[in-house]
Symmetry: D3
Subunit: 250 residues, 6 copies
């Protein structure tokens, strides 16, 4: 039977780890690893909201994704130096923000802003889905932090967990959680974002030089949703542990 | 029975028109209308390809989408004056480009570049799907133009037609081809891009403040794919007519 | 006798048409055509004025001119993507704004801002003079709209009509309303903006690779002022008709 | 009889001085003063031309105008720090370049580029006309420099002198060479650029909050052309003197 | 006796660690820690040099420094999103580049470019001196990598080690290696960059709201130079160990 | 004995002149010359302070440094046109601001802002040190101006004079006040900023392709501090003279 270069079965995830308290200043700070993909996800809390939202009683959540120059096989140039953010970066930042806003009641956090930053330290495919998965855990810690400081309007602002995974067609087979080597030659590429209550937040599927029948779409969804279930377990386990080290702002 | 504000059935498209030869300089120039949404789609042909592609023998196809300031209910400020392109604009430009590259054999057009420009004159929901639908027709005319000038390496570079449509959940019902009034309050919003050979090019579904079960995703796909079939008929009819007025470059 | 390539006499305008209500969201929306030059001119009304003008009781009027990428023979690249507006574009935007401010009493419109947008759909010479001519009609409709909504401090804020036309020396002859073919090889190029009360608003004459005696300047002014008289007739006729279709905001 | 605040007659110029060799690195360096307006004009020579002109055998001439932050009554912020050049600055830079290109045969200077920089040290009205007047002298010195270094294809590339002056309507009277105090309240404002062979290069007249009859235009042209004659005398006298100090590159 | 908040003596460094092979794509990748300050330093190798250096036979070395948004107590906004790099960031990037160029013979590395990226994961004072210290180790690994791939013109391009440390006057006392808490209230702040051959590369001392006598400068230099000696030991020890894990490009 | 190309002894300054009242609009305006280096330093006073400082009762002082395009041997391109300020320019602007803030009590000037602009008209080495030296005199005049207009909270806001000079190692010898010819080939380059009360404000020493022993640093400091003493004399003499011409705002 055809196996993948890294020995996984088609429907198998890479090893996923979530390290909470990775740095100490932000309210939430998580290093997420999907195999060799490593993303630092921080959730910073700031009092106040953007001007257009002031006085609404509602909080706000933003997200920014970026790739460090040394994260890729060949160094990618720094967007701050180029003076503008690429379309790809903006697209992923918007996706991360939308995905995480789906699980939080912004009225419950009062007029506070949570800024999620997902910086890719090392890229090996699936950086956006790792970012969403890690950002959820950082967000959960930031909400705990807000609660501990008496800054929540409602004690339970998070309604569900959020996880994401990639899936694609490689060598004619539907495969889960593609590393760079597979991603770069996939015929179809899909990312899904799901909740642990069994619903979808976002589905983005793209034919890369090929188009795909609906049956392929269905098979990719099956595989990705099953993968998300396993990621929710990893998230739950990580969040069940006590916060490592000193709490931020303690 | 609950009907839509504009009287349409849930699975009914708005009236779609495609006006070829809308302006005379570009090799293809189409005004596409989905109800009150009006987008001018031009396909300009330039000899040569970007530097990174020179000498490959392959052509290139790019796309840019933009909204005129007066296109929306409230004037939207001009991106050239702001000095940067929004994330939304970049995201749609990239989507249009990817979608149209799915139907063309870039080896067949030789080292020529086709630039698709989709400028929204009037916006009433579904501007990106109208843009893709109109850009396909402009592209077809540009390819005919290249052929008439002996600049095609292969006489048939287009392998299929491309059309797109939006679908969403509004008032709890799956509805096709949302106008602004429905789009702005949709619970789920999806855009699909399909080929007339029965396959998908792109699927993008997003919960807007709500998440959605897989059954809803399936119902939206059913509706959108049926809608695309009708759009392919409109495209075929438009392209069957002789080119209106003088051919560009004649 | 030497006639022009398009058969016109030296002092003859191209056919001019003004289509009001070209799009439906802005308070004024006009498609102006000078022969093959086509410009969409919209006048959008926004409550409030820029910060430096707040509390003055005066309104404000701004203008922006732009060329769509497909408007020219060879595609011109998009200024939003380049991230800056060219000197030419800024120069014309400033000219349009100054010209139209000459006919309106900004105290009479109260603290409202009228934004004029002139987007060239197809360019064949004289785009800036067509833009001014069309913007006047869009402005008149926007003022009517403000009046109908009870937002005018004074019922008659417009003191005169504004029109503009180009004139130049081509093949040694003074010629009116130059199309691209003549404009690109003119020895002298002039644009004038005039009022229907017999005065001038702006005179801009430039030797293009040649200098010119004062007698030529005088002959160009004669021709251009006579041309403006005929344009005022076209404007008057267009504005005498009832507003086509539904009024904006009705 | 009404005289002007500074005691001049309506048709009288301010004292004009031209200091050649003001700085020593550029091939031409002139401090031009029109009363209290002081502009440093340098002409730098660089071997080679912009890419689009390579191999044509033709030279090129560019111009940039700028205002130092401390030049005005109230400090004006630095455009390099704002990150973009204002429309006004670009407009004047373009005007200076066009004006000086009118007197030089670019074939005669071979594939060299002359860059004119006009930096306003102190502004008191008429900075753009002073800049053009001074830039002509700097250009003449730069051409002499090119000749002395054997870099001219033709020994006499300059066909005429170029000067410029402002004129306007202030307090209902046509007045020449407006200082800031008059310029800021002028009803009509005009700049003309002329040659010493009796022709015009550029005419730009603008009603500032007022429109003007053609008879006023004629009176302004009379006054400005007479003023230019006197400026040509000042230029001739300045250029008749031996070059002060060491020649650049000597 | 007055001790420091973290218990150190005035001339004592914070614990310094250097983790080689921190990520796997770049030729050198080091996590450097000075107490709670943590900087990821990568050295990426690219074939070729900037255009102005082509054909010289010389290599090039550049450096970029940046702060991740979550690195500071209060989130700092992302420079790529702001669209420009701050003066502070540029200043430090230039300092890092100059400092490391002092130890390498650019002829010996042939026409290759080494790009050093120093990204601050967590900031607690002394980020620029930690960056230089860590970048030296990443550079050493990158040079080893070049040698292993036969891309060195000379086998020994590095002539000395480079380390840097901060020193300042806090509470009237000269103190070494300031954490944020001390740095933010230091009266004088100095950074020195030194070589392990006993010489200085860079000295930058600044009075922060206070000026300082030369005797203070001397005392600061004594302390900093002694500190650098201890840092060279840490570097030597780190580089003496075998490369952890797989070599890049192996 | 080896003398310098311009005949000076190693520890000799170039002739230094300070021309007050160089232009008339700013509250302070000084032309400073260090040999052929000429910098125009203006100090503009604006009522109010930046937003983050409002209501503090404290004033503010900023500085901007720039090089005119024609100031250097080969024309340097204009930063406003390039759309961004170079790292070097920012670094020097920050240095000038920090240096001058060291001598002024910002509480004493009330909520006013003093903007120092240092524009290099002609560059021959040492432009940043000339800028600081001249800016001090312009600042002193601006403070006198504030006092004369009753806008000082305390009559004596300046606590000491500030001067700066460069020193370096050229041909193996420590030399003071380097012109371009020496600066461009110096092995070590240092700038110091000092007060006339015997203290240091800033010390910046850099090995340029070479590193340097501490004894060299000491010798450079000796030379530079002695040089500053002589510059303070020139400043004192310049400020002792009555203000030339009319006072600004008189």
């Amino acid at each position: 039977m055809a196996t993948r270069e890294d020995g996984r079965a088609d429907d198998e995830l890479r090893p996923i780890t979530l390290t909470r308290g990775f740095t100490s200043h932000p309210a939430g700070s998580v290093l997420v690893e999907f195999g060799n993909t490593r993303v630092m996800c921080t959730a910073s809390v700031e009092a106040g909201v953007p001007r257009w939202r002031k006085g609404s009683g509602l909080g706000w959540l933003t997200a920014e994704y970026a790739m460090l120059p040394g994260a890729t096989h060949t160094r990618n140039s720094r967007e701050s130096v180029k003076g503008k953010v690429s379309g790809r970066t903006q697209e992923i930042s918007r996706l991360v923000g939308r995905s995480l806003r789906a699980c939080i009641d912004l009225a419950a956090i009062g007029e506070n802003t949570i800024a999620l930053d997902c910086d890719v330290l090392q890229a090996d495919g699936g950086t956006r889905t790792a970012a969403i998965t890690g950002a959820y855990v950082a967000l959960a810690d930031a909400v705990t932090y807000l609660g501990a400081h008496g800054r929540l309007a409602d004690p339970q602002p998070i309604s569900c967990a959020i996880a994401a995974v990639s899936v694609g067609v490689v060598d004619g087979r539907v495969r889960l959680d593609l590393p760079y080597e597979e991603d770069s030659r996939a015929e179809v590429d899909m990312n899904i974002v799901a909740t642990d209550t069994g619903t979808l937040v976002e589905v983005q599927g793209t034919g890369e030089g090929a188009t795909f029948p609906r049956s392929t779409l269905d098979a990719m969804l099956d595989s990705a949703l099953a993968g998300c279930e396993r990621i929710f377990d990893v998230q739950r386990e990580a969040l069940a542990a006590p916060y490592p080290g000193e709490l931020p702002g303690a």
